[in-house]
Amino acid sequence: MQNIANISNTKYRVGIIGATGMVGQRFITLCAAHPWFEIAALAASSRSAGKKYGEVIAGRWKMSAPVPSAVADMTIYDAEADKEKIAELVDFVFCAVDMKKDEIKRLEEDYARLEVPVVSNNSAHRWTADVPMVVPEINPEHIEIIEAQRKRLGTKRGFIAVKSNCSIQSYVPLLSPLREFGIENVLVCTYQAISGAGKTFADWPEMVDNVIPLIPGEEEKSEQEPLKVWGEIKNGAIVPADAPGITTQCLRVPVADGHFAAVFVKFAEGKKPEISEILRRWAEFSGEPQKLGLPSAPKQFLHYFEEENRPQSRLDRDLENGMTVSAGRLRPDTQYDYKFVALSHNTLRGAAGGAVLLAELLCAKDYITQNQR
């Protein structure tokens, strides 16, 4: 492992593919203030290519902080046509694009084959068996599969690593430290913020005073992705866990940021932990990012509120810069063993922030290195 104290001497040069979208904007905001990373290239579709970022984004910028001026003057590259050029400029890329799944798969593999590590927010490669899907506190060891992936791709540096769907990051972190009690069944209803659809109230007025009962594809992801995160590496592939059984309903609610989950959980016969034991596990749960002192790692990954009316979206989604997952109202249930509520910031912990934390882990573990300049 690299000496982390030395990492900041020269910054890693970062490319952002999909720089004009909402997650791309979050990546820009996070990288502009990052101690290890500096933005070296921005890429988007051919429509935006060749223009200045500041001009293209005028009227579409959705972050509360203004566009960093250094970024506003950068010329946008074409994510498809300028791949070779981008590969020369960067040490790795973040990818968050709005394209067809097959096209995204190919695009990300193209970058990997050009020896560019790809840290992806897209879902396209989440079920590719040798692509790690990582929540850094939960399954950091999955990044070891990258060696097998590099063999398949025939690369030395290039690879793809992905983060999981934003919806599962409100409940999977809280279930993870309880797995040894034999979780059998989980029922989750998610209440998901509109920024998850790349929208604000200004551009989605139909969401005011409204709930939409369908988020296409979300329930499948919410039920299956946890099993890959909890999976094991066997023979060059990540084999998903076979339990627990998870059933979900995912609703879009009129909240700007922060995905909520109402969670019901049942443990194996005779293994049900006490409430005090669950609270202790949550309070003590910490992982590789905390051990390594990664810049985006929250000090307290899981925060339990004793107050009955917490967590709340507006009050608590930004805990530790939006990287802490919070929970409350843990209590016995009549059908399952326990129920609780949970909250995670969907575009920070759940998207760009989680991907930045994953990139930090990959840097600290030497999977991402600084390219020769």
Binding site: S64, P66, P68, S69, M323, T324
Partner: protein, 294 residues
């Protein structure tokens, strides 16, 4: 390019007192109310927080408590001013140790200094901390003002992030932004000048009124940041009477009174600050009623 410490509204939060100390429980309630209201940063222990009548120990403990309770949800700017450079440094270093995101430091008041002295005062502190520093220019209280040349000199320091401008001197404000651009951030220090300051490029406001109307002040800055100055001005003008009444006596007398009238139980003012006169109290209540907060 200096990334602004915050964009939008930062509340210069009052410090709730008991008869003999700080009411930390109330402070936590006020902080949650601000976060729920869309405030971008808490400015703790500024003039409005009655830092002038806090001991070094109490001052440091309030900053520390605030940082821990906010816990990264929004930014915390610690007021660490003193007209004794060494005392200001001491407070600044304690705030840094507590984990504050930035420091707010007013120009030396009463003893005052020269422009050369201002550069020396701020450079001395900025060299010894690693947090971004926001300068604070308020000649009506301090008896001296920065000049453009002094801003230009101080902007060269990597830790000096910008200035809270409460001089009301728009010639100075506009020439500062024109000359220094993104290398030096400006925030309005006056609630009645948010929109004009932001129309010239200020990044937001450090606000007294946000103690009682956090959402409305945040909204003014959101409209302005999005370039919708018509809507921002409408709101600025709608709350102008309330804002003026909040400065009918020396700040923070009216704001702390207003919070107590609203039932927030922020406790007494510390001497030399005292209760409002009866006639001014009636004017304040009248403005609060008209603006719909009472």
């Amino acid at each position: 390019m200096k990334t602004p410490v915050f964009s939008g509204s930062s509340v210069a939060i009052v410090t709730p007192f008991t008869e003999n100390g700080v009411n930390f429980g109330k402070l936590e309630e006020l902080i949650d109310e601000q976060i729920a209201g869309g405030t971008a940063a808490i400015t703790i222990c500024g003039t409005t927080g009655e830092c002038s009548t806090q001991s070094l120990e109490e001052h440091a403990s309030v900053v520390d408590h605030c940082v821990k309770y906010v816990n990264g949800r929004i930014k915390v700017i610690a007021g660490t001013s003193s007209n004794d450079t060494l005392a200001a440094l001491q407070l600044s270093q304690k705030a840094e140790k507590s984990g504050a995101d930035a420091l707010l430091l007013v120009t030396p008041y009463y003893n005052k200094t020269t422009q050369k002295g201002l550069i020396a005062h701020y450079t001395y502190i900025a060299d010894r901390v690693s947090l971004p520093i926001i300068l604070y220019n308020v000649p009506s209280r301090t008896g001296l003002s920065f000049t453009l040349e002094t801003y230009q000199e101080l902007a060269k320091h990597p830790n000096i992030n910008g200035v809270k401008e409460a001089s009301g001197n728009f010639a100075l404000l506009s020439s500062t932004i024109a000359s220094l651009g993104d290398n030096f951030n400006v925030w309005s220090g006056n609630d009645n000048e948010i929109v004009p300051a932001m129309s010239l490029g200020a990044k937001g406001v450090i606000s007294v009124a946000a103690n009682v109307i956090p959402q409305q002040i945040a909204r003014i800055t959101e409209y302005a940041l999005a370039g919708d100055f018509k809507k921002a001005a409408e709101l600025q003008l709608r709350y102008l009477d309330l804002i003026n009444s909040l400065f009918i006596e020396v700040n923070p007398i009216p704001i702390k009174s207003a919070l107590n009238i609203m039932g927030r139980e922020v406790g007494p003012l510390r001497l030399p600050l005292c209760e409002m006169s009866d006639s001014n109290l009636e004017k304040l209540k009248d403005s609060m009623r008209k603006s719909g907060i009472l």
